[in-house]
Symmetry: C3
Subunit: 347 residues, 3 copies
């Protein structure tokens, strides 16, 4: 049986204005162009405005200005995506976990794990681990010695936390994530690399999300720190002693080399690389696949790698021209001398 | 004891022409330059043609036109690499799995798992999981609630499938793969990021391969779809609601942002990034490390990031010249005015 | 209780000169700008020289030439970072493992595992595995059939080794690493991809480090080889049949396509891509995020992707100019003709 909610129930506590049938029953969400009766949709991207007049949705979340273009019930708000997020949570069918430690779990000594915590099958918990209330640890996780995990944090299946890692409240960590592996610290001596002991740990603040298969290395001296509210996507590399400021969001496949410091409220596009020991100021946006090869001191939008997408033929031409730029510069210089010459003679 | 096969056995059912000793015994495969008596090699890349006259191999798979250059037995075919793939399968020593569920497996309620299925040690299977005939699940896998896996699919060790993920027939999933993790959906409200519930799932078609440590996120609304015959290499990020068309092959370290749509029969080079909400037409080839920052509507080969590999010294020069391009343009403009001026005066 | 060491103890066996209080007691390490009494720091980067006169550290590791600028005890050496690495090892609190096989381990047939080996909880060991003395295998690892692991090697938690992989002595493998997954070998036939059996394995030499979530594919014919002393960071993709020469260090997020050959003593910057079948000579340095699209025959420093970091506005301008380069070249050509013309007439 699908659960249905009155529109007024779904919007309770949200700062919205309802127009039309506030009592209509909603059993799910759908994209505006696909929504049927009983579903609620949202409009944020103006490209989808054209579907407003045709949609079969029973209710639409949108900005006030579009309210007249639609016969469905209206949930008007200046932030339709946020309101959608809150309403969609009613229809979230992510499995819930029953408190308790599965009998297959291998538990270390001297751990503190409240009765409200759920630890899934096949987990291995090291000595001295301290876990907060209502934490959920998925199956197959390995939690190292003296790790602390604060209240209401969720680890999905097959997460690895190394010894002494500290995780805040309400943190979500997806499967395959590794936190606290040794940083890439190497000293060369007589032609060979020698491992530099990685003595710090990783400290993850409250309300942080970490996407699947992301790696976060422990600090070499001092700690790697991910501040409150940071959101990390999948397959991100965070080197040792990196610091990431509050509410910064980093998209997939980004690599952040050791000791880089990223400010607050930044947005880093996917595939970007941030060099070692580089700083990025607060409120900086970096577009995707940028090489951040030097410190960014001012807020703004940054990019690298001139020459956007083009056909490979065009790309070959442009690359060749680039290599002939020096020659072109010399030709212009020659022309300038000639003209100076000509004008001299004219006098 | 090594198993030996007659050449005629190895080529049974393949559309090839044999010349020379069709009854020679073959016990293994080797590269043409290393092959010894009793081994079979193939020639595809013309660079290796020079080894034809010297090879010790007992048989060679090659295109008709080279058949005369070699004293070994010949397996002539227009597609030597495909024929090699079929013959090499006889020498594949990948371990086979005995049907049955290892006693250490933690099994959910209401699962349907036929007797022909093999589930390795330490796996955790959620409630309501439905598995097809002859499926092999390696050790340490975690299969979420209500996942379906169709016939003859193989999961290697330590794979994670989230709840409700659907996997087709004859799919190969390598170790460390995560399928169905939450997409990177965030709504900003009052300066903080709020998680947008990810309500869809991931649907993987028949004959798909997924390489090790690749992440595929579940859809936000609606599903992430990987169509039949798609081949994904290692460490690839597939964002929420991405669609990948039939028989498209994607090399390692590619990142595909949310809601991107990739057509059929595409080839995407390693390290490439595809931006969010971008479409790529059918039959498109993208070279490695390209930033696909806009929609591609026509088949063809595409690239970005002008300036191929060069010495760092040359790179610095070129980068500097690029920054002086505006200045050069102004100098050419000045020359043009001067010349117009000179010619005017000449009249 | 924190352990304290005399400075003379910490420096035993190291080729250093001590000045000042050689008997001072040290209980830990710290960055020079944060170090307190009882701690030892090091100076390598000249940027930190300014902290020398103010540091509270009880001892400083540095190059002879700076010895006079500091009131702490001095450990003078031409290689402060290496000496630091050796001293820091005294303060390493990485958990140590007790020899023995955890009762939850699922062990295959015909394995050889000495009494000095530690195998963590929930590991699954395949048939015929041979392990050397003092090897440590963390919890949740899956070791495939006929794998060999030589003396003193450490696998952290949740590592996956496929069948027949060979690991040398003193190798460190971090969590989430997958070694021996099938390479991306595909033959197209009648419009569909067919898997090419991957018959080789992976051979890892002595003293190799592999960072978390890195993938190393097995060879197609012949083996993938990582030579002695190679250091791999996190989230690196190593394709089938890749060869990496001794003491080469590769930073995070690098992708190396199939059959690439990388020489000895190379340094490959983070996010770089190396194309298939490409060779890189010994002693080559490649800067971060470079596309190595052709063979490098000479030692030196290499880069690609002209145009360093800039504001997005500047980036857009530069990209536009680049696309107008052809036009600019034509304008210069026109000017040259005109001038030739003018000079002719002058005669």
């Amino acid at each position: 049986m699908t659960t249905q909610y009155k529109l007024t129930t779904l919007t309770q506590g949200l700062d919205v204005t309802i127009k039309g049938n506030a009592d209509c029953l909603i059993h799910g969400v759908a994209p505006i162009q696909e929504a049927q009766a009983g579903q609620i949709a949202f409009l944020m991207n103006p490209l989808y405005r054209k579907f407003l007049s045709k949609t079969q949705a029973s209710a639409i979340i949108l900005s006030e200005e579009y309210a007249g273009e639609c016969s469905a019930a209206i949930v008007a708000t200046p932030n339709p995506y946020y309101v959608y997020a809150k309403i969609a949570a009613y229809f979230d069918d992510h499995p819930t976990s029953v408190p308790g430690i599965h009998p297959s779990v291998v538990m270390g000594k001297d751990c503190r794990i409240p009765a409200s915590v759920s630890v899934g099958a096949s987990c291995v918990i090291g000595d001295g681990v301290v876990i907060g209330e209502r934490v959920v640890i998925g199956p197959g996780c390995v939690i190292g010695e003296f790790v602390t995990i604060d209240d209401d944090t969720h680890l999905d299946a097959n997460v690895t936390l190394y010894h002494r890692v500290q995780i805040g409240k309400r943190v979500n960590i997806a499967s395959g994530v590794v936190i606290g592996s040794d940083g890439f610290g190497l000293a060369k001596h007589q032609g060979k690399w020698h491992k530099v002991p990685q003595l710090g740990t990783v400290i993850i603040g409250d309300d942080v999300d970490v996407g699947s298969n992301t790696s976060i290395d422990r600090g070499a001296i001092g700690d790697t720190r991910i501040e409150r509210g940071v959101k990390l996507d999948n397959l991100i590399q965070v080197g040792h002693n990196v610091q990431i400021g509050e509410n910064t969001a980093i998209a997939g496949c980004v690599g952040i080399a050791g000791s880089a410091v990223i400010g607050k409220n930044c947005m880093i596009g996917g595939g970007t690389g941030v060099g070692g020991h580089i700083s990025i100021a607060d409120n900086v946006m970096v577009t995707g696949m940028t090489a951040v090869s030097k410190t960014i001191r001012e807020p703004g939008i940054y990019s690298s790698g001139v020459g956007g997408l083009m056909s490979n033929k065009e790309w070959r031409k442009n690359s060749a021209r680039l290599h002939r730029l020096e020659q072109l510069t010399q030709r212009v210089k020659a022309l300038e001398s000639l003209l100076v010459d000509l004008k001299e003679r004219e006098k």
